[in-house]
Amino acid sequence: MDGREMRDYIPYQVEIVDIDRVTSDSYLISLQILDREVFRYRPGQFIMVSVFGLGECPISIASTPTRNTLQICIRRAGKITSGIMDSMIGDVLGVRGPCGNGFPLDFMKKDILIAGGGSGFATLRSLINFIADRREQFGNVAVAYGARTRQDLYFMQEYKGWQMAGIQVAVTVDVGDQGWTGNVGMVTSLLDRLEIPPGSAAICGPPVMINSVAARLMEKGFQLPDIFVSLERHMKCGVGKCEHCMIGPHHVCMEGPVFSYDRVRQYL
């Protein structure tokens, strides 16, 4: 957080080394840092990614620090993400970070429920793969994830690996189609199909989804301070100075993006 680039805003340079298609309109981009030795981060942190000439925007880190490659998941949402989508292997981008606090794994309980909606799932992938790599440190782990349609589901090819690592995985879509035999409905509808003893939760998605999942979890015996939410805000500096990302008195880029639900419930 205190790196040189966080003080003078000059990014480190990264090279795109791989591009994988995640869905029809999103890519998983693997990055190699060029002018820095190590890049340490925690699941739930994010980076400020630059396309020089277009600008910089915050992107969640989608990879786990327990593996070698830094990865981000990009969807064409604005000018800068479009610029990233149009980049090719070998192109150089800029990175500042890691920013934010990440999931407080030291304080979280061993039993974890992970719930994601839409593109927020990229943040959670970092946590899920971390848990898969350190499986013995955790207890009962379940993933509940929903997207609009089957085509919008992220990382489908990894669900099997998670299940094989002893992580429950349940998936739903808002709108089914022919050939979809899975759940249709909101993420909350998955919570009854999973074994979820009261523990900690990590939720990432739109506020409506966060609130309904948290309510359901509390019915199941979860405590508010054990429910962690990763929030999204318009960001520019990533260091708590430009004031775009404030939620109440809190800077999402510094005190978050992961907050315990009791702290931010009133703002959602």
């Binding site: 957080m1 205190d2 790196g3 966080m6 003080r7 003078d8 805003y9 000059i10 340079q13 060029l34 020089f52 000439g53 277009l54 600008g55 910089e56 949402a77 604005g78 993400t81 070998g90 192109d91 150089v92 800029g94 739109p206 999204e232 805000r233 318009h234 520019k236 500096c237 260091v239 708590g240 100075k241 430009c242 004031e243 775009h244 404030m246 939620i247 109440g248 008195p249 703002y267």
Partner: protein, 359 residues
């Protein structure tokens, strides 16, 4: 260390400084006071400038770095800062810099701000002629300064009491012994004069909004009709551009493949400030945004830095493009609520002939 400068000697002192660095001072241009590069022009110290000298340190637009592409990778260049001396900054604007110091100085410290801050010498002028909308005293931000300056000038009539506030200030006094002689034997009487002059000014400022304080403002915020105020707001964002504490910024690039990454002032009064690319907006109405601006100044910045995010300079109210929703109207309505025998028309209904124009 203290000294005394005869008024007639001020231009010579400025010249001695101008020989070594860029001196910025309040100069009358087109009937309006602006902090511009001093090249011998007569100064106008009769009122505070509409554009705060804090904007010299924290400008509305600056280049963060240049990027130059060379065979696929980039080289980056940061601009240098040249030394400056700002003469005539008032305690309210100095206080604004102190707030910004705590915000920009918090880890990770903001290099661009610090470079500009550290390369500027501040020769602050205690206020003796506040504007009608000023309320610095209510916030502890004026009308006099007690720390944070390199030099502090107080107008005692025929000359200025000059006090150092830092090692750089001591050096400046020592470097001009003829203009700034040692006056330790007169110290007591000069300081007494200063106390009198400053006290008069403080009384004047307090009388505009008697009993005003951060607590009263926060109480008023609880019952303010934000949605109604938001409907009247003209979206000019002038308040946030002119406020010396407002520092929200955005960053944008200019130029491909070589170019500049620029930081420019942003405003939380615009809808796009908090809007996500998905289109959802945590502060969807102008009332929400107005309320957030007040909260930031009187709660969040106070909690974060220990200092209020408002210095009572009155500029926001001067430029407000809508009738009766400015901070000054808000303060007036708070004051009028207290006056049970208020003979004047309801503050906020009619204020007479428009806004104050600093003469």
């Amino acid at each position: 260390m203290i000294s005394y400068l005869k008024k007639a000697d001020l231009p010579d002192l400025l010249q001695a400084w101008a020989d070594k660095m860029d001196v910025l001072a309040p100069i009358l241009e087109e009937g309006q006071i602006s902090f511009t590069t001093w090249k011998g022009q007569p100064l106008d110290l009769s009122a505070n400038a509409l554009v705060s000298p804090a904007k010299i340190i924290s400008p509305r637009e600056e280049i963060l770095f240049r990027y130059i592409q060379e065979s696929g990778t980039y080289r980056f260049l940061r601009p240098d800062q040249k030394p400056r001396l700002i003469f005539g900054m008032r305690p309210c604007d100095l206080r604004a810099l102190q707030v910004l110091d705590r915000i920009y100085g918090a880890p990770p410290p903001d290099q661009a701000y610090l470079d500009r801050r550290r390369s500027a010498v501040l020769a602050v002028l205690n206020c003796t002629n506040p504007g009608p909308g000023c309320f610095c005293a209510a916030l502890g931000a004026g009308p006099d300064a007690d720390e944070g300056y390199d030099l502090l000038f107080t107008d005692l009539g025929n000359g200025y009491l000059v006090e150092s506030g830092s090692p750089a200030g001591i050096v400046l006094i020592k470097n001009s012994p003829d203009l700034l002689p040692a006056v330790s034997d007169l110290a007591d009487s000069l300081l007494t004069d200063k106390g009198r002059v400053v006290g008069l000014c403080r009384d004047q400022v307090i009388s505009s909004f008697p009993g005003m304080s951060v607590e009263r403002i926060r109480e008023g915020m609880e019952s303010a009709e934000w949605e109604r105020l938001g409907q009247i707001c003209s979206y000019c964002a002038g308040c946030s551009f002119v406020c010396p504490v407002c520092h929200c910024f955005t960053i944008y690039d200019r130029g491909v493949p070589d170019g500049q990454r620029i930081r420019c002032a942003d405003s939380c009064m615009t809808s796009g400030f908090s809007r996500l690319t998905s289109g959802s907006n945590p502060r969807p109405s102008q009332g929400d945004r107005l309320r957030n601006w007040y909260l930031d100044k009187f709660e969040y910045i106070l909690a974060r830095t220990g200092l209020a995010g408002c210095v009572g300079c009155g500029r926001c109210s001067q430029v407000c493009l809508s009738p009766d929703i400015c901070l000054r109207s808000f303060l007036e309505s708070l004051c009028s609520r207290e006056m049970t025998t208020n003979k004047f028309a309801d503050a906020g209904e009619s204020k007479g002939e428009g806004k104050s124009i600093r003469k």
